[in-house]
């Protein structure tokens, strides 16, 4: 996914002279081909994220479209005030390409695990937040970023994630994709939780439970219309995210339902990471599994929540 997104920056640069790549201190050889073809538009500016965001703002004020790239935690935590003031307050078209969203950097520990990035980015007025699920979708997504007004936070997965997105679904920023029609259950996912949701839906189907999947690649602006359409007739709404419970996809969905419906909400299950820093290493998959976000555990949680929802009045469940 990362290589695809990077290569798309090169392709966009070839198409449009406004496009810049700005890295802090990325891996050796990042976008080497672009650096050779467009050396003046391939900028490596050092481990100085606060400065890089401000500089990108200045370049965007003059008509450039900078694609800023570094590790997700550094692009969010380190320079939050610059993102808020320089990018969001001025509503400038700077794209933040965040490597290693979620638990991609599991072995590197909590300094490198972006577990609250969606929350803090979506809290900012004017910010758009996108979490593609695989490399193919990342390519379609990048194509749509060129002329989008305002800043975008792009949360990238590790790369090598199974391709589950489909070309025929296309990609529009802010338009969710219904991957499977809803049954008793609707799962709402973002990023690489889609692959887990598909596997979980297969397991549930084997148990006779039909579970739909709404892929909310854009967490902000949230596709309210698609969400309200997809929850019609369901008994349980489950949100899946590689993120702490506060402020992420589950929060966004719950807020939207409360604001739009007020009452008569479906039973809801928010599956997420716990509200704490990870103190385990291993791999993205092993940490997801540890926290109940592997397909088996997702299917089991949904099964239990569905059973509970049938015996009680509508209520909000949370892990």
């Amino acid at each position: 996914m990362r290589n695809t997104a990077m290569n798309m920056v090169h392709k966009l640069a070839a198409r449009d002279e406004r496009v810049l790549y700005i890295g802090s201190d990325p891996g050796a050889g990042t976008l080497r081909a672009m650096s050779k073809e467009f050396p003046k538009r391939h900028l490596i500016e050092g481990i100085s994220e606060a400065h890089i965001i401000g500089m990108s703002a200045g370049l965007a004020m003059e008509g450039f479209v900078p694609y800023v790239n570094t590790i997700a935690t550094f692009l969010t935590r380190r320079c939050y005030e610059q993102v808020a003031v320089d990018l969001c307050l001025h509503n400038l078209p700077v794209r933040l390409i965040a490597n290693g969203g979620g638990l991609v950097y599991a072995p590197l520990g909590p300094t490198h695990q972006a577990i609250e990035d969606i929350a803090i980015m979506r809290a900012l007025p004017n910010m758009t937040v996108i979490c593609p699920c695989d490399a193919d979708e990342a390519a379609r997504m990048m194509d749509k970023t060129l002329d989008w007004t305002g800043p975008i936070y792009i949360r990238l997965g590790k790369g090598g994630d199974a391709i589950v997105s489909k070309a025929e679904h296309g990609f529009e920023i802010g338009k969710a994709i219904l991957m499977r029609p809803p049954g008793d259950v609707l799962m709402v996912t973002t990023g690489i939780m889609l692959q887990r949701a598909i596997a979980a839906a297969d397991l549930l189907a084997a148990q006779g439970i039909r579970a739909g999947i709404l892929h909310m690649h854009t967490v902000k602006p949230l596709d309210t219309e698609a969400l309200l359409q997809a929850i019609r007739g369901i008994k349980l709404l489950a949100t899946l995210e590689e993120h702490v419970p506060s402020g992420g996809l589950g929060s966004a969905v719950a807020e939207t339902l409360i604001d739009k419906l007020g009452s008569g909400l479906p039973a809801m299950l928010r599956l997420s990471l716990p509200d704490r820093f990870m103190h385990n290493y291993g791999s993205q998959d092993s940490l997801l599994k540890k926290h109940g976000l592997a397909p088996n555990a997702i299917a089991t949680s949904i099964e239990h929540a569905l059973a509970a929802s049938r015996t009680s009045s509508p209520q909000l469940h949370s892990t």
Partner: protein, 282 residues
């Protein structure tokens, strides 16, 4: 023992001409109307802003977004009363707006906002942002082969922020000789002396070692400011830093070098009298 710069001594003793007094009347009139404002940080800055807008910047108040205009960013946004006075006086917006300072429907807030105030290039107020934005503007000029220059006005307290020094390294890396950092070195930040809060000296050496061509002047000396600012870049291929030795609250004796006047709420009758004595009726 830190040696006191002769420019700092000159800043303390130099007198102000009628235009400088007039601009102070505008600033203090805004404070009187609003019942609040950063007085000290604006008064130390007035001559720097005055010379920029009167003599240096290639700007057209009737066409404030002219692509060829010089860019100026007030990175120490809390000094905005000085900027507002100059922008109003130069015709970017009516002088009457100054009386609405900080009012609920005013275009003039306690920190300057892009899109609200004609002539303001960037919203500032959070410190340590302006030089990085300036690097972006200056680099864009280079890439677009445009001749505009970028001036960034920084506070001395502001340069406590590490991001300023990240930006300084970036400016030097790119050899941005179309970029000028002007430091309002009044030596007094909100709590107290810069030497106490976080010592900056040797300040000129710091900027020099970060790759800037450095000039030091009395920041209230209009002639010296004109001379230095009309000769940028001081060294081709290098960004310029102009360290302007100033006096916080300059021109208003009770406020001079007095941290209590960093931000002022309602002015008392005796304070209003002192202002009239210092700058004339307003």
């Amino acid at each position: 023992m830190i040696q006191i710069s002769p420019h700092a001594e000159a800043a303390l003793t130099c007198t102000l001409d009628e235009r400088s007094l007039y601009l102070r009347r505008l600033v203090l009139g805004s404070v009187r109307s609003a019942g609040r404002g950063h007085v000290g940080p604006a008064l130390s800055l007035i001559e720097m802003v005055r010379v920029l807008y009167d003599d240096v910047l290639r700007i057209d108040p009737q066409n404030p977004r002219d692509p060829e205009r010089d860019r100026a960013i007030l990175s120490k946004g809390h000094g905005c009363l000085a900027l507002y006075a100059l922008l109003a006086d130069r015709g970017f917006f009516p002088l009457s707006e100054l009386d609405g300072f900080c009012g609920s429907d005013s275009i003039l807030g306690g920190h300057p906002e892009y899109g609200m105030v004609p002539g303001v290039e960037a919203s500032t107020g959070a410190l340590g942002h302006g030089l990085s934005i300036g690097v972006g503007l200056a680099l864009a000029a280079r890439m677009r082969e445009r001749s505009y220059r970028t001036f960034v006005l920084l506070g001395d307290g502001e340069i406590n922020e590490g991001s300023v020094w990240e930006a300084a390294m970036g400016a030097a890396k790119h050899g941005l000789d179309n970029l000028v950092a002007m430091i309002d070195y009044n030596k007094l930040q909100s709590y107290g002396p810069t030497d106490y809060v976080l010592p900056l000296e040797p300040l000129a050496d710091k900027w020099r070692s970060f790759g800037f061509a450095v000039q030091e002047i009395n920041g209230h000396d209009v002639g010296a400011l004109r001379t230095v600012l009309k000769q940028v870049p001081a060294v081709p291929g290098k960004p310029t830093a102009v360290i302007c030795h100033t006096v916080k609250g300059k021109g208003l004796p009770p406020a001079e070098s007095n941290a209590d006047w960093h931000h002022k709420n309602k002015l008392s009758d005796s304070e209003l009298d002192a202002i009239r004595v210092a700058v004339g009726d307003f």
